[in-house]
């Protein structure tokens, strides 16, 4: 475990020393004290503004043969608004006039701004009235108009590991498949593991499939084992039973009570059948003719995570963002024995101690499940977006690395007390493709008594993301 951690830290330090600080271009920004801004999440209103921009352009670009224009001035048209664009309404605080100050639309770095004087030309009074009444439709607070540099905008739009609403509408990786509709404001998610709750790859004991919104996700856990690019022979995941359906959900609340911190919660559980007789020693296996593989099976009854992410107020050269995520983790594992008829029996022990000549039992010997509250801690660091160290730029063999909207490196350290530690490094080779490596090490004893999780493992990963 220590070797893996050191290896990851060495990579991080190496990259840190090699980096040079990048320059960030300033962009138009508004004073947060004077304005308030929100995104329009109600799709019918989004469409109204899209159409209004098209109409405005039509009225100002097409020739009118019946009227001779007095001058041939070049007409300034607006960029068309796309379905996936953020639509941001800006209103002046404490203004006596209830009116839209500006409208911003776009994504990432590129935002088009409709100034106050043009708002009246483009949008009817009725639409303006509807948009300004923000308590009548779905919207969310936005800080985009207040960012003072490109870097700040890129960082804000760069998805956090906890984000339920990804930056791109398509993401395929060795851990998940994410597809988002530009029109319906929903996404479909398939996950082949869940590193955030300490259960990567097949250790998650299911494949989850769900539907997501900006702040929530709900779905089904299928008993399917998908474990891609797992390195090492100690995975030992046959002690996890994958035969039962379950449900899961995730929720996030951004900018909790205007503190800038984001709250994340997720949980999942399995529906498994009742089990009656209690197996207290190995004689039960012999009496009931239990096969070796079914003697010590475990079911992830339930997992839950409550965490809060906030940006750490630290400035490190070459590091654009450091986020801390403290939280609480809960897991409950049912320890069972399975017979040939798939009937389950409660099991209160997990091994035999030849020294003391007694069975090693869970808790006081009457427990057939383990449940543990653990402290959750995670630190994420990312290098500056679009900045590469000079040695990469100069080396012709590394010219395939070309990043503009992503950081070169993303590093994370995650520890769940009494469960495990997962460290990961992600290399982005361009804005769409990245390679990753995650190391895993279990906490000795703790929740994993009976070896239902491996001692250590490593996963390699590939991620492709794009917009369609």
């Amino acid at each position: 475990m220590k070797k893996n951690s050191l290896f990851t830290i060495n990579i991080f330090i190496g990259a840190f020393l090699l980096f040079s600080s990048g320059l960030s271009q300033s962009v138009k920004s508004l004073d947060k004290r004077k304005y308030t801004a929100w995104t329009v999440d109600h799709m019918p209103y989004h469409i109204l503004v899209e159409d209004a921009i098209i109409d405005y352009n039509t009225l100002n670009t097409l020739d009118n043969p019946k009227v001779k224009r007095s001058s041939q001035k070049k007409v300034v048209t607006l960029e068309e608004m796309r379905a996936e664009d953020l639509l941001i309404i800006v209103q002046q605080k404490k203004s006596t006039k209830i009116e839209i100050h500006e409208i911003w639309y776009g994504n990432g770095l590129n935002f088009n701004i409709i100034p106050r004087e043009k708002v009246d030309w483009i949008l009817s009074q009725d639409i303006q009235q509807a948009l300004i009444e923000k308590d009548q439709y779905l919207n969310s607070p936005s800080d985009v108009v207040f960012f003072e540099s490109e870097n700040q905008r890129l960082l804000a739009s760069y998805s956090s590991r906890f984000s339920l609403w990804k930056q791109h509408n398509f993401l395929l990786s060795t851990e998940e498949l994410y597809l988002r509709s530009n029109l319906l404001q929903y996404s479909a998610n398939f996950a082949f593991g869940n590193s955030l709750v300490g259960l990567p790859g097949s250790l998650f004991s299911s494949t989850s499939m769900g539907i997501g919104t900006r702040n929530s996700e709900i779905g089904i856990r299928f008993p399917a084992k998908i474990n891609l690019l797992s390195i090492g022979d100690g995975l030992n995941d046959n002690r996890l039973l994958r035969e039962y359906l379950g449900l899961y959900s995730k929720v996030s609340i951004d900018n909790m009570f205007s503190t800038g911190a984001s709250f994340h919660a997720q949980m999942g559980f399995s529906f498994f059948p009742r089990s009656s007789t209690i197996a207290t020693d190995t004689t039960f296996f012999r009496k009931n003719n239990i096969e070796e593989v079914d003697q010590y099976v475990n079911i992830i009854d339930m997992y839950a995570l409550f965490a809060t992410t906030f940006e750490a107020p630290v400035k490190i050269p070459s590091i654009s963002k450091v986020t801390f995520t403290p939280g609480l983790h809960y897991i409950k594992v049912a320890h069972r024995t399975k017979d040939k008829d798939n009937k389950l029996y409660n099991r209160t022990f997990y091994d035999y101690d030849y020294e003391s000549k007694s069975y090693m039992q869970y808790g006081d010997g009457e427990m057939s499940s383990t449940k543990e509250f653990g402290l959750y801690g995670r630190v994420d660091l990312m290098t500056e977006i679009g900045v590469m160290p000079s040695f990469i730029q100069k080396n012709k063999y590394l010219n395939f690395i070309n990043i503009n909207k992503v950081p070169l490196l993303e590093v994370s350290f995650q520890h769940i007390t009494k469960l495990n530690t997962i460290n990961s490094v992600v290399f982005n080779i361009n804005d769409n493709v990245s390679f990753s490596m995650a190391t895993y090490s279990s906490e000795e004893d703790g929740t994993v008594q009976g070896g239902w999780l491996p001692n250590k493992n490593m996963w390699l990963g590939i991620r492709y993301r794009s917009d369609f």
Binding site: L59, Q136, L138, S140, S249, I253, F271, R274
Partner: protein, 453 residues
């Protein structure tokens, strides 16, 4: 039938399809005849144009044929055809009389390009035109003005949390909502969407919510004695999440059956029934409803609240109707408290006897309709839950607001035979039946009052 529904889904789909059609096929047919219509909302431009027009009529000795007044409002319709844009129609609308008047286009064309360009370029304040205006422009639309659509939010806020900042109710709910951050603290009882009403389910929900999602702890509580309920559901500590958007919503809840139970906190220590894990997904849509009951004529309400809003006048859209249809999945556990000390402080574990969690045991249907009036004074709901395992119930609720006070009533109907069959014990295959309101069923009427600020 006076109730008329505005089919939002259909309208949305038409809009989406129109856009998709335009994008995919370049819409050559569509672009050949595209009309853009509006009303001039800049009073000085209205006056300037009409004055110029009237002067032109006087100049050409045509004023006696004129019907347009200086106070009229101009309506413009442009036509986009084969890459060209032409002025198709121009009308003057008189708001006082509701009349539409025609301009003499031969005189309009003499006004000069400057004023015409100003009118057609639309670089001034303008307003949408309604269906009636469109017919005056000899155009007809099958698409309703999207601004007339019901935003689901008004209907949703009334049931998702509260439309006020603080609401405290004797129906065992408290909401404290910060409108500046769109977040709220919630305390509720029961999990009503799953048909597990507070009247027969011993739990309290403590949570944090935003507009879309909510996360909460589930805390057990002892039910107050109720003659209608023979065997309530027991509760224990757990957590839950729920979310609600304009078209889909759902929730999942988990209560840990591995917790220790205090003897006095369960209804019957030999038969503990616990909805240990549950989930729900639903589709929803919101419709506008017209006023089919004139509330201003109801004497009782008149006396309670003399200032009935003008929004309640008969014939006008006065509220939103939200329909939800979904599937639920609830695992019920039948257990007994393990033998041991009956000391209340100690608590005892559950010995689980049976789990109903197969698809044909746990799956159920959920239908709910919610009505909220535009003035937020009245809200009502009706809900039905029916599961494959035989447990079903109906819920109805009505609430009326008078200034800072709300009075309401909830009715929960558990039909005859509604219940669940469990194995009686681990040692035999006999069945034990759980009927929350007895085998003959019953209904519970729960009036309440709330204060909101």
């Amino acid at each position: 039938m006076n109730m008329k529904m505005n089919l939002n889904t259909l309208i949305n789909k038409i809009f989406f399809l129109t856009i998709i059609f335009t994008v995919l096929f370049g819409s050559s047919a569509f672009s050949q005849q595209n009309l853009i219509s509006w009303e001039v909302a800049d009073p000085s431009l209205n006056r300037k144009f009409i004055e110029m027009y009237l002067n032109k009529l006087i100049e050409n000795d045509k004023f006696d044929q004129n019907s347009i007044q200086a106070s009229d409002v101009i309506m413009v319709q442009m036509q986009q055809e084969d890459g060209k844009l032409t002025l198709k129609r121009l009308r003057a609308k008189n708001y006082d009389s509701g009349e539409y008047r025609r301009f003499m286009m031969d005189q309009v064309s003499k006004l000069g390009p400057d004023i015409m360009n100003t009118i057609m370029d639309r670089k001034y304040k303008w307003a949408e035109i309604n269906r009636r205006d469109l017919s005056a422009l000899e155009s007809y639309s099958t698409i309703d003005n999207i601004l007339n659509e019901r935003s689901f939010k008004r209907a949703r806020d009334g049931f998702w949390w509260t439309t006020s900042q603080v609401e405290v109710s004797t129906n065992q709910s408290i909401y404290i909502r910060s409108k500046s951050t769109n977040q709220a603290f919630r305390l509720e009882t029961g999990i009503s969407d799953l048909g597990l009403y507070r009247q027969f389910f011993g739990n309290t929900i403590l949570g944090l919510s935003n507009d879309i999602s909510s996360t909460y702890f589930i805390v057990p509580r002892k039910l107050t004695d109720n003659n209608n309920i023979k065997q309530p559901l027991d509760g224990t500590f757990g957590i839950g999440f729920k979310f609600d958007t304009h078209s889909i919503g759902g929730q999942i809840n988990y209560m840990d059956s591995g917790n220790k139970f205090k003897t006095g906190r369960v209804f019957d220590e030999n038969h503990v029934v616990l909805p240990s894990a549950s989930g729900l997904v639903y589709w929803s849509n919101t419709f506008a409803i017209n006023n089919f009951i004139d509330f201003s004529n109801i004497g009782f309400l008149k006396s309670l609240n003399k200032s009935i809003s003008s929004a309640n006048k008969k014939g006008k859209a006065f509220g939103s109707l939200r329909l939800k249809v979904g599937l639920s999945f609830t695992e019920f556990i039948h257990a007994k408290l393990s033998p041991g000390s009956k000391e209340e402080k100690e608590g005892r574990e559950l010995e689980i006897i049976d789990r109903l969690n197969k698809v044909d045991e746990a799956l159920g249907f959920f239908v709910r309709s919610e009505i909220v009036t535009d003035n937020k004074k009245l809200k009502a709901y009706a809900q039905a839950n029916q599961s494959f395992n035989g447990f079903s119930n109906l819920g109805l609720g009505l609430e009326y607001s008078i200034k800072v006070l709300k009075i309401g009533v909830e009715i929960v109907r558990i039909p005859k035979g509604s219940g669940l069959e469990f194995l009686e014990s681990n040692s035999n295959e006999d069945l034990w039946k759980w009927y929350p309101a007895g085998e003959s069923g019953d209904q519970i009427v729960s009036p309440y009052i709330s204060f909101h600020f």
